[in-house]
Amino acid sequence: MIKARGLARRFQLKGSTVDAVRGVDLDVDAGELVGFLGPNGAGKTTTLRMLTTLLRPTEGEATVAGRDLRTDPAGVRRRIGYVAQGTGAGMDQRVGDELVHQGELYGLTSTKARAKAGWLLDQLDLAGLADRDAASLSGGQRRRLDIAMGIVHEPALLFLDEPSTGMDPQSRSNLWDHIRALRDDLGATVFLTTHYLDEADALCDRVLIIDNGRLVAQGTPDELKNQVADPARPDRPTLDDVFLTLTGRALRDPAA
């Protein structure tokens, strides 16, 4: 579903060059739920922005959902969904209007978009909010609306950028259920970034760890834990231990 080779991005900032991503190889199979982990500034969002056509790679190539990123970005856009860190709904727009509009932007007829929007609002516990202004939603509701907008066109591949940042524990676990359902019920491939290791552990089949613009490890959460298991210590390592060992830094930088 995703195949990237040597993906790199360099930024020119006030005379100095910053290599945000330095040659990432990625393979994600259809139906996988993959977590993309890394400290702040490691290159997670830059990689995601390249894979979603928002940023042109300075080097490397990738096929995303069967389309070449460089030669057919519009083809990629038609086949993917992307839920960014920010809020996708306009604050002066009504919830239902925004969702229907998003469907229409992806080419659904107005009738189909309306039906789909109604169904999604039900599925994501947003029923009855269609006529409310997006500004009046709670943080968790807003996030679920973002997800609804990301999947209204039933993409085969969904990118989520830090989907649960800033949510309370209930909303977070509720969101996880919805993300699992995307994969289990709709058969979507899900690629999400996070810097909550419990989230990656609870949710993801496979985890990729990026640091300093390079992939430093990948595997199932269990495989990664086994890699850093210390026979001298009786307690089983957590993903936090894996992360600290591999990147030498703590993850939850408050500057997130």
């Binding site: 979603t52 860190q85 920010g86 996708g88 306009g90 727009q93 080419g107 907008m149």
Partner: protein, 246 residues
């Protein structure tokens, strides 16, 4: 492409339809000029007609400039929150993302211009319906150019504190040097020369000629300048909307 532009247009229009009083508030500035400044111009019109025939067309150009130059402000919160980025990931053409918004502002502008013209008739402004319609077309064309430039600038600057001063330092001199308020040829030579370098001055003259039912050279020049402005500003706008990481 037309379908996509319409989708973006309808979305942009919705909050305004729910709160149409905004359209009237947007008229308050030109109405103040009409009521508190227009009567001072007693002698400007010369022998050919009242000063209102001279002043109202310029006021419409001013409305077009101020009405659409600030349009970019509506984009900045949507850039910041992520709305623009969400739409950039959809397959919708970048041109539609720009022009759907611009056309919303132009529609509002044309409605405001019609209301302003109607108000001006209370003061003695006279023009036939078809002349007014032609005048509204020219105003609308100018609005497309200024609106496209405003959105491009907003997308480049991304912050209100950067956008506002750039706008003020562009729009005010453009307005003062366009001869909207007083005839430029009454000023010193250097000032008149400066105004000749301002494309809006030709649009103002064209609008005055149109509203006087004079479809000669001045009207044509004004129209051509407005179309050229659309070509320049729209291609800048489309390029900016296409640019990566914008």
């Amino acid at each position: 492409m037309i379908r996509e532009t319409r989708l973006v247009f309808v979305r942009a229009l919705r909050p305004m339809l729910r709160n149409p009083t905004v359209i009237v508030f947007g008229l308050s500035q030109p109405l103040l000029y009409l009521v508190l400044f227009g009567p001072l111009l007693g002698s400007v019109g010369g022998a050919s007609g009242s000063s209102w025939q001279w002043f109202v067309p310029g006021l419409l150009v001013q409305l077009s400039l101020f009405g659409t130059a600030y349009a970019g402000f509506s984009l900045i919160p949507e850039i910041r929150s992520g709305v623009v980025e969400r739409m950039r990931v959809t397959p919708v053409s970048r041109t539609a993302l720009l022009f759907g918004r611009v056309l919303k502002d132009v529609l509002v502008l044309v409605v405001q211009a019609a209301l302003l013209t109607a108000a001006a008739t209370l003061f003695g402004f006279r023009a036939s319906v078809w002349v007014v319609l032609l005048g509204l077309v020219l105003i609308g064309v100018l609005g497309v150019a200024v609106g496209a430039a405003s959105y491009a600038l907003a997308l480049k600057l991304r912050q209100e504190y950067a956008f506002a001063p750039v706008l003020a330092s562009t729009v005010i001199p453009l307005m003062l040097l366009s001869g909207v308020l007083l005839p430029m040829d009454r000023g010193p030579g250097w000032l008149y020369g400066l105004s000749r370098a301002n494309p809006l001055a030709y649009v103002v003259e064209g609008e005055r000629a149109l509203m006087a039912a004079d479809l000669g050279g001045r009207a044509l020049t004004g129209g051509l300048v407005a179309v050229a402005l659309v070509a320049v500003c729209a291609s800048w706008g489309v390029r900016t909307f296409h640019r990566e990481n914008a």
